[in-house]
Symmetry: D2
Subunit: 369 residues, 4 copies
């Protein structure tokens, strides 16, 4: 449903980059959940622009809650919050009127909304809306943590630089480390090299993308629905709502194309009375349902489309070709910021799937008197 995602726990998103505010409404929120404000602040901080590899537009971006929380605890009623747009510079966009920025949604938004859209800064399509997603997801991640679920993401690849892979024997420690990093890599030397590549791209008026690798531990077997609400369908649906995501693969993903079934199948085994698989090519999901192993997926993030290099394009009002060099404050890469949005969206999807399975009383608790 357009700007609402979820079945039993839903998030409804609103706002434009240069409007009054962005925000979201979380409905189906379980009652009696203590909001983890520290986690919220940390995740919002990780999404924020920072340092040489990001835009110079800075905003505090902490959500102002309007409803659904009393004394730091969820009431069960909808949690609505806004994040005001304070640091808006419309003039950065004045030259862009009716110019289709390549790789952006200016033109498609124009056709869809018949010219009535606010295209400034990408309008409703702006990556800025991920601030609201991150806030909503942080609240969900807080709930999941109470149930022993951990979600971590690192930048697996950027340009031709590969980070170390996850080690499934110590995922929880790795996730814990990543959860507190601003530039999330497992090998900091590789991180330095990636940052250098981004800085170099910026110096040339260009930009970069990359690959994000996510691991989720602690999820029971049996979560997800058959056919159309498989965990893969739900996660993929959610991830493609993050701007710049152009691909997702679970487990071995595209490497399956060259494998034999005998290599690809994950043998089941018993370990300490628990069912496990001895490999995890299926990324913790069989038939769309969690099998108790870590959920694993990778996303590709395309290079930020806002570049100052000269580009060929059109003025869609005048219906004629033109050239464009985008000035203003822009990110030479968003992958290091997108990573926490991926964790947030994962948290929303899993919280919803768990409520679908275990009901509205699974999270939260009776008020203590």
């Amino acid at each position: 449903m357009k700007n609402t995602i979820g079945n039993n726990l839903t998030v409804t998103l609103f706002g434009e980059s240069h409007g009054t505010a962005i925000g979201a409404v979380i409905d189906g929120m379980p009652a009696g959940v203590k909001i983890d404000y520290e986690l919220l602040a940390e995740m919002m901080g990780q999404r924020k622009a920072a340092g040489a590899v990001s835009t110079a537009r800075h905003e505090e971006d902490l959500p102002e809650f309007l409803s659904g929380i009393k004394n730091g605890v969820s009431e069960g009623t909808p949690i609505a919050f806004v994040i005001p747009n304070k640091n808006v510079r419309d003039k950065d966009y004045s030259e862009l009127e009716n110019i289709a920025r390549p790789g952006h949604a200016d033109y498609t938004g124009h056709i869809k909304y018949r010219g009535n859209e606010d295209a400034l800064g990408g309008g409703h399509f702006s990556g800025r809306l991920t601030a609201a997603l991150t806030a909503a997801g942080a609240i969900c991640y807080g709930m999941l943590k109470e149930k022993g679920i951990a979600i971590g993401t690192h930048i697996a690849r950027l340009k031709d630089i590969e980070d170390d892979p996850f080690d499934e024997t110590k995922l929880n420690e790795q996730i814990e480390l990543l959860n507190h990093k601003n530039f999330a890599v497992l090998n900091d030397d590789k991180g330095e090299a990636m940052i250098a590549a981004i800085v170099e791209a910026r110096s040339e008026g260009d930009s970069l993308g990359g690959i994000l690798d996510t691991a989720i531990t602690g999820l029971d077997a049996g979560v997800g629905e058959p056919e159309f609400d498989s965990l893969e369908s739900l996660l993929a649906h959610a991830m493609f709502s993050i701007p710049a995501v152009k691909g997702i693969e679970f487990g071995a993903g595209f490497r399956f194309a060259d494998m034999y079934g005998s290599e690809a199948n994950d043998p089941f085994a018993m370990q300490d009375g628990k069912v496990v698989t001895t490999t995890n090519n299926n990324g913790g999901i069989n038939g769309g349902i969690s099998n108790g192993m870590p959920i694993r997926f990778r996303l590709v993030i395309k290079p930020t489309p806002s570049i100052s290099k000269l580009q060929h394009t059109i003025n869609y009002a005048a219906k004629k070709e033109t050239e464009l060099s985008i000035s203003g404050r822009h990110d030479p890469a968003v992958i290091h910021r997108a990573r926490v949005v991926v964790e947030a969206m994962s948290a929303i999807v899993l919280a919803d799937a768990l409520i679908t399975r275990y009901g509205s009383l699974y999270f939260g608790k009776e008020k203590e008197v």
Copy 2:
């Protein structure tokens, strides 16, 4: 919603591999659409098992319509159909009771449904249900063709064999050719090599997967919704309901990871008074909305999990380890059959998205008297 997909045009799926019948209900079907039975038969035929590279289980699999169609024309009311399960051999599965076939949903289904599921032949998770999806999608594809939309898929890669790529200057002809092929490749020599690889895998009791590449032409700019119902979200959601799909990428997909923004962005240009992009790295989608260029995506299909090679696994009732060699009639590869299911699911998604944009009267017409 579990077994229902879509917003304005919905498909509700039911059935198990070894039950009485599988089938589907298409709701929100526009009135006055002439059913293209020839297209339906051709697509069902392409999904059917055939030849050396497929299972020996053969079924006619033509849907028996129960409602919603009168004299070959849709009434506007729900179209329900069943496909009886005729050629069922339960004994093939008698040795499998409580054995988790690696790579299958036996174990996860068992946990989800607390032992009440019918696991024979994969039960509700069986690839057999794609017959119903194909039938529903064929009806939708018939509608789309009336509007000049064409959908084609070829096997881009299998093991290390690569088919020729699509040529975007002659996509319509290529799609037309592929639409009439049973083993859908652009280069038949590559197709022969792929078939040989599958036959060899079968002879070793093993199986193979591969990559499917899809192109869709004729879709207007402006279709799709922002944020959560982007065309990418909708298509990905639908595709992961096809068993064995483990990844999807749009346009340049995972190759974006190594590109600069200046390479990745698709420059806009005017061509014969129409807005085009001179490259199509974004696969026809900007900000989740179609931009008028061909929609392009690729899917990875994992190797069929049913193999006769000996596998390590567990008996989940006895909670102990065991070994397994799957006998019976199985596909050494499903990619050549999955391809038409991808086209069918694409048709369902696009028909729904077009009705969302243009309303319930967009397809079909007033009854001629």
Copy 3:
């Protein structure tokens, strides 16, 4: 969603009166529910035409299950069933082509579906589809009974004849009695008078409606959602899908118009450690949420529109006025048959609301080995 109702447990309905079959798909069905076939047969029997007060069209109408049930127990996957249309006499309708039967959906269906609808016998709008609703509801009622919930309905008024009212001090016994009656009244003398009124209306080529009064016991406090998914919204939504229902009121209903707040409010009290109200003007619902008292609502059923008396109407194809006397097999009243449909729809709504609150594992159980 058109022909699908529900959030976590959904029912998708299909079929036309004179098509091949009608039927439904129940999705989100909990696994491990023993199907109560006796209850199913009894409810289907109560809906069936019978005796002097009903149509002469008889059909066995037992559902043929296609999926989702194994050895009499739900698998957790969709339950699909069909009810074939066997006793169809198209010629009864041959004179009706393009004639708008007053009070029926012929004309509105014609406009909606642009002439492509199958209008025979009311087509998709026919009361015949309530056979599928009753079957789906009977399965849900079986689940609810296991949890101690009872649903009963009597004909409270027909023409100027009033049945005795429910007695809230012995609702369970009254419901038990009603559940086994074909003409559901609390006072059989009043029932005889109602039947006589119906027989008389038939003899004059006319028809009658009436009021149904429903009581539901055993539902916990706390079920239902705020604002748009109040129990009242959900029940009303469901009830208006039953043809001929034109009004619904909860508790004191329209009598509230003449009451003071001091009369209308239901005082709370403690009874055996349980919270109760000493009156039940609110029909067991406060703020849309169940309060633990019996749920009470009344529905009005309009007189059957098919009458043999001469009526003024139009031929909508010719766009001119005409006259009409409907021959064929018709019900002089449907209220006695509609009553079990009301119980069935109530069961669907409550089963869904309970799953929303308590999750997918609330009903059904682990398979016994």
Copy 4:
């Protein structure tokens, strides 16, 4: 879905009576709709407390728009707005802690949310949230007016005082008059009598309810869906989200119980080349689909539960009985304020149903350059 209503145009509601703010998000809003601020202000004014017959709590209650509108025209993206809670007096409620006010949702909310709810002033169940519904509905009504649709409601009955009935031969004029009245009656003498009755009830520490009668003109035939999304289902679902509504009837409603089919059926006729019915017992709806005649329904509003008369009730924390006299600022009747909420909710339902039928481009227009 809990706090979201609609299919293609959805409204998501949030807030509590004594929280920071209430508000809503309108999604699926067509692009290019000029917001009718005058209509918005007038409708908000009609909902506002005023005069002797209302509470002394006054708030301006104009929505502050956060997104989706640019220069007074809808952008097509979600319209979010908040209405701050400024005039909150928590101490009015300090004596009410854990006391179940009879007729209110305090107790049911407490059970549902396990004690975590904010019960002050009714919390999320407060009639205050109808301010947000009215604002959302006013925007929709503005759209409908552009298409020639008019919605009007009058107080048909209060205590034993009956207003004059609508006259279907001059509905448009009557609606126009009602749309500009604060105490909406057709006969002002009857209005005076009603006001006197309310004032008298207040003087006795008591309250009153009544019946609202709504007429909608200008709606095409063919709008609405079969079975579960009939106009009756959609309207009833929406209306029961308005606090205090306990019943709804369409057309002749409960009077059908005493009618013969030959009286109840509305004969079709041709009038100036247009299909009409010569009576309108069915309230403009046949089979759930609009037939082109005025839509007619009536709602019953129960007496306001907040009364100062002494009431018997419980302290649900202490689990013991107690007595209660509600002081503070309360409405002796809400029916005159509820009436515009009914018009607003009607507008939301119809705008959604029209978009479902005619698509997202039906309302609004291309931006003028």
